[in-house]
């Protein structure tokens, strides 16, 4: 599968990260793995760019984080969706559905129902 353009992804990165955390708390590396797995490796972003998004979403109150100790003994920061984050994801999902239906209709040359 072709890797999606970075610029195209950037605008949706926050939504992608929120969606990756919808299944449960995870640390940065696991978030990236989840994005890869669920997108079928379509998203080809530098891994480091996910961290500013995680920090931004935490600052906005959509994520919370806590430090744990991994099996390796390393300190690990684990992120989880907050109540507000879950709400924001649901909202963004609805907007995205509308948007993609409109684009699909546009590209197919038909009027949406």
């Amino acid at each position: 599968m072709l890797g999606m353009e970075g610029e195209m992804l950037k605008g949706h990165l926050d939504m992608i990260v929120l969606a990756a955390l919808a299944s449960g708390p995870a640390h940065g590396y696991a978030v990236i793995e989840e994005i890869r797995r669920r997108s079928g490796d379509a998203f080809n972003l530098p891994e480091g760019t996910v961290y500013p998004a995680l920090h931004r979403l935490e600052e906005a109150g959509l994520l919370s984080s806590r430090w744990t100790t991994a099996e390796s003994g390393r300190k690990r920061r684990v992120y989880a969706l907050t109540k507000r984050g879950t709400g924001a994801l649901a909202e963004q999902r609805a907007v995205w559905k509308q948007f993609s239906a409109a684009i699909a209709g546009l590209l197919a040359g038909r009027t949406p129902a």
Binding site: Y29, G48, H55, A70
Partner: protein, 209 residues
């Protein structure tokens, strides 16, 4: 290889030592996990996949500064409201207890009260201007917060002087509790605001304007 990379990224966030430390730990954890057995080749690949440290540091700094601006803004509004409420509670108490001003200090008290009022109005205007600048210009926002903090400090200093003038010459009694407690509340509000403002990432703002 990985510690050096994490260090180079963390160094660029040195304006906020706590952020710098936590990012370093977080990035190292990520890279060691991505590097599997930790062979030099896998470390190199993990670093390459992570991306340009300067770009990532800039994005992390932007997220941190925006959070700092929000906290400073909230502290500013709360401090202003706190000073206003404490000031009015004290004046209400003076009225309730019919606690007058000593004639000898009336002129001085009136002059200090005028400065106090002016400083407080300047603070209120400064806070309104800072709110306007909040999403438009970060540097202007922090400058306005600093100016507003100066005005709040002036107002609190005037309140302290006015309280001292009002209490002077009276025997210590339980009636002092309200003026002293409200004065302590004002000083606490101002101290919290100053502490918040002192954490402003000046280096980051200088580099990005």
């Amino acid at each position: 290889m990985i510690p050096e990379y994490a260090e180079s990224l963390a160094r660029q966030l040195s304006f906020d030592p706590a952020l710098s430390r936590s990012v370093r730990q977080e990035v190292e954890d990520h890279l060691w996990e991505a590097a599997g057995d930790g062979s030099p080749e896998l470390q190199r690949r993990a670093i390459a996949a992570f991306g340009d440290p300067q770009l990532i540091a800039r994005q992390l700094a932007a997220a941190a500064v925006s959070g700092r601006a929000r906290r400073t803004g909230v502290a500013l509004v709360l401090a202003l409201a706190g000073v206003f409420l404490a000031m009015n509670a004290r004046l209400g108490w003076y009225e309730l207890t019919q606690w007058g001003v000593c004639e000898q200090t009336r002129t001085l008290g009136d002059a200090v009260a005028l400065v106090d009022r002016l400083a407080f109005w300047c603070a209120a205007l400064g806070a309104a201007a800072a709110a306007w600048a909040y999403r438009r210009h970060l540097v202007a926002f922090f400058v306005l917060c600093a100016v507003t903090t100066g005005a709040i400090l002036t107002s609190v200093a005037c309140d302290a002087a006015l309280t001292a003038l009002r209490l002077a010459g009276w025997e210590w009694s339980t009636y002092f509790a309200i003026p002293l407690a409200t004065m302590a509340a004002e000083i606490a509000c101002a101290a919290v605001l100053v502490a918040e403002l002192r954490a402003t990432p000046l280096a980051y703002l200088r580099e990005n304007t």
